[in-house]
């Protein structure tokens, strides 16, 4: 099977779907001639033409609003928002329109838009190129929110998303576009070739939406996480010498509660990790749900390791980022509970 990094996997997903379905169109800032600032759409305009890979004005609200109208008219638009931090100007169109259209018209109208946006920090992007706003979208019924952690899932989930008739926010953790990352910025970068999920089929396949994945099984502790931190969590558990079960949530919403609770009921301990700030973050939903369903098996309080409740500071991104040290400390303190 070919090796792909996450960018290539995403591009391959777009290519495969555009090839099969002429109704799929891409629009976004710099996505066309240039191929996107992260190169995810590179070559697609040359292949599919200017009417299917459309350079757009710098207007996130307009991009999403127009995409909704296109979707209503039978297309499957895949808008790209250049950075997740810049999705907010389109927030009203997402929450009030995209998420609500099917409901308010009882299915008479719907718009199958998949919004792609690179998220997360660790690339020295400062506070406006590093955010992970998944919690905000998780709270909005009517949209689904996805975040893959590797090339294989990225392609499979993106194909599922575009083929789905539901609107989807597809967050791509840009720190791991080019390789997995164990949380230590001092170490040399690793390529996806070193990871089993760097092997990605050329053609069409799907990874189902709404299913978490146990990426490492273990007996002592469950670590529930997603995105970049999946890799950090594995490294931290290893370093801490704890037999941890690591679960990649993948689908923020709808959430695969069963996979999580089955694991925590087994291990009796749970640590949740995400990059976004903790207060009101998605980890809160995970903790609230897990404590409810696993109460009688919990041997320690569920703990959350997350970004601090600050903006993502440029120079201190590694102090903000819930990296290996903080994860290990978290693991240790949860394992110390008798």
């Amino acid at each position: 099977m070919p090796q792909m990094n996450m960018i290539e996997a995403i591009r391959s997903a777009l290519d495969v779907v555009m090839d099969r379905d002429p109704s799929v169109v891409i629009l976004g800032e710099d996505v066309g001639y240039f191929g996107g600032v992260f190169r995810c759409t590179d070559g697609l305009q040359r292949k599919y033409g200017e009417h299917r890979v459309i350079d757009a004005p710098i207007s996130e609200g307009g991009i999403i609003g127009a995409a909704i109208g296109m979707g209503v008219n039978g297309l499957r638009p895949v808008p790209e928002i250049q950075f997740a931090d810049y999705i907010y100007p389109g927030f009203d169109q997402i929450v009030s329109e995209l998420a609500r259209l099917r409901y308010r018209s009882c299915g008479d109208f719907f718009s199958p838009v998949t919004i792609r946006a690179p998220c997360g920090g660790g690339i020295r992007g400062g506070q406006t190129h590093s955010q992970s706003p998944e919690a905000i979208f998780a709270h909005v019924s009517g949209i689904k929110t996805i975040m893959p952690s590797n090339p294989y899932d990225a392609k499979g989930l993106l194909i599922s998303s575009i083929e789905s008739d539901d609107p989807i926010i597809f967050f791509e953790p840009k720190r791991i576009y080019n390789g997995p990352f164990d949380g230590d910025p001092e170490k040399p970068a690793v390529s996806w070739a070193s990871h089993s999920k760097g092997e990605v089929p050329e053609g069409h396949y799907t990874v189902p939406i709404g299913q978490a994945e146990v990426v490492q099984s273990g007996e002592e502790l469950t670590i529930v996480t997603y995105g970049t931190l999946v890799h950090v969590a594995q490294a931290a558990a290893n370093a801490a010498g704890v037999d941890a079960e690591v679960i990649d949530v993948r689908s923020i919403s709808p959430l695969d509660v069963e996979t999580l609770t089955t694991s925590v009921n087994k291990t009796g301990r749970c640590m949740i990790a995400h990059e976004a700030t903790r207060f009101g973050g998605f980890g809160a939903e995970l903790a609230a749900r897990i404590q409810k369903d696993c109460f009688y098996n919990l041997e320690a309080p569920i703990s959350r390791i997350a970004g601090w409740d600050t903006p993502y500071p440029h120079a201190f991104e590694w102090q903000y980022f819930p990296g290996k040290k903080r994860m290990i400390a978290g693991i240790k303190s949860i394992m110390e509970v008798e």
């Binding site: 109208g69 009882c106 008739d165």
Partner: protein, 412 residues
């Protein structure tokens, strides 16, 4: 703080107790404005955005180059639709006042907008309305009883009880679902039109916003996208002078007509008498032709007046003169078309009265029928368990389990 200040605060020309004053409206005489070819360059037809296209003259004849020469039979049909819209509104307003529906919005005084524009479009064209375009749904074949059931949230409700009254939708009739959020439909229309162009189809889109809603971001998004991609779309601004209590000056209408808003992007604008069905039809047809032949977007400002309250929750006597509508120089759209037909010998007061009676009966019959699907107090009732449907294409597990829990607890 110092006394000196230059913050300009727009003021309406009259407040409660004052004499209505519409001298601020720049009016043209019927027939006075040129009708340019549809392939004119925007810069050559700027006058269309400042003058006022009018066809129906004070003497009730049709005048000038914009006269669409519509067959009198068709005009009678148009009159019928306008009157139906008004009769329907009147009844529904009463019904709301009786507490039998929770809310209502009427289009009193603006009926020519929906009917005149609907007439000029083709069935395959897509409409993205505001909440004051009930005439569009009617004209395009949505049944009165279905609209009433929507307002009743009963078992016949197309919205299954999910939406406030008047938030209709009809995919079949090609009229979009109405949103509570102002202006959001504008970029949808542009995106829809872009898709039509991408697919190489012949359909165009049209959308409507109020004067007040032009201040929203989506107005800008829509005109920007429409201009850049030359989308086949008609962008209508229904300038009825008011946005709830706020005069249109607060939407920036003081210095230049709304029709001019797209000029800076090269979008031609037409300012049209919004109470003149003939002028509305003619300008819309012009814009539709232009769009269909690849000429891109046109903005149309329909100058009209909100004859009634903003909604059943509003009391306009608090902020504008009670008799302002009566003083509105463009009159009443129904009355004007009626007088035109009479003048041309195709109508009479008697026929009009008969028609009104007929429509009143039709509305009453629809209301009777609608109630059979349930009222707010009497069954049959919609099943609340349906509130978990249609959030997604397929209902996910967590919503199914919430549905079960709801039934359990609420005992539905």
């Amino acid at each position: 703080m110092a006394k000196k200040s230059r913050l300009h605060i727009p003021r309406p020309s009259a407040r409660p107790g004052d004499k209505p004053d519409f001298s601020y409206l720049n009016l043209s005489a019927a027939g006075a404005v040129d009708r340019p070819p549809i392939d004119s360059r925007t810069r050559d037809i700027e006058y269309l955005s400042s003058d006022l296209v009018r066809v129906l003259n004070d003497d009730h004849t049709a005048k000038g180059p914009w006269d669409p020469n519509i067959d009198p039979g068709e005009l009678q049909v148009a009159l019928r639709w306008m009157l139906l819209s008004r009769v329907f509104d009147k009844r529904m307003w009463q019904i709301q006042r009786q507490g039998r529906i929770s809310f209502y919005i009427e289009a009193l005084g603006e009926e020519a907008v929906s009917v005149g524009q609907a007439m000029a479009l083709r069935p395959g064209d897509m409409c993205f309305p505001s909440y004051r375009n009930q005439g569009l749904y009617m004209y395009r074949g949505v049944k009165l009883v279905d609209m009433m059931c929507q307002c009743l949230s009963n078992t016949g409700d197309m919205c299954k009880g999910r939406q406030l009254p008047i938030m209709y939708h009809s995919n079949k009739a090609n009229v979009f679902s109405i949103s509570g959020n102002l202006g959001t439909q504008y970029p949808h229309a542009v995106g829809w039109a872009m898709a039509s162009a991408i697919k190489g189809e012949d359909h165009i889109a049209a959308s409507w916003v109020g004067d007040g809603a032009t201040a929203e971001a989506d107005f800008h998004h829509a005109i920007t996208f429409a201009a850049i991609y030359q989308a086949p779309v008609i962008l209508n601004i229904v300038n009825n002078q008011w946005a709830i209590s706020t005069f249109q000056g607060f939407a920036g209408g003081e210095r230049r007509p709304f029709a001019a808003r797209g000029l800076g992007l090269g979008i031609p604008g037409i300012r049209v008498d919004g109470n003149d069905l003939l002028a509305i039809y003619a300008t819309t047809q012009w814009a539709a032709d232009r769009a269909r032949r690849g000429g891109g977007p046109t903005m149309i400002e329909l100058v009209t007046y909100r004859g009634g309250a903003h909604s059943t929750s509003d009391d306009p006597s608090k902020y504008r003169p009670k008799d302002e509508w009566a003083a509105f120089p463009l009159g009443d759209p129904i009355e004007r078309l009626k007088q035109h037909l009479i003048t041309e010998g195709h109508w009479s007061d008697e026929k009009h009265e008969e028609l009104e009676e007929e429509l009143t009966a039709e509305v009453l019959a629809a209301w009777k029928e609608a109630q059979q699907y349930g009222t707010m107090t009497e069954g049959p009732f919609l099943d609340p368990a349906t509130m978990f449907d249609d959030i997604y294409a397929e209902t996910p597990a967590h919503l199914e389990s919430q549905r079960r829990r709801m039934i359990e607890v609420e005992g539905s």
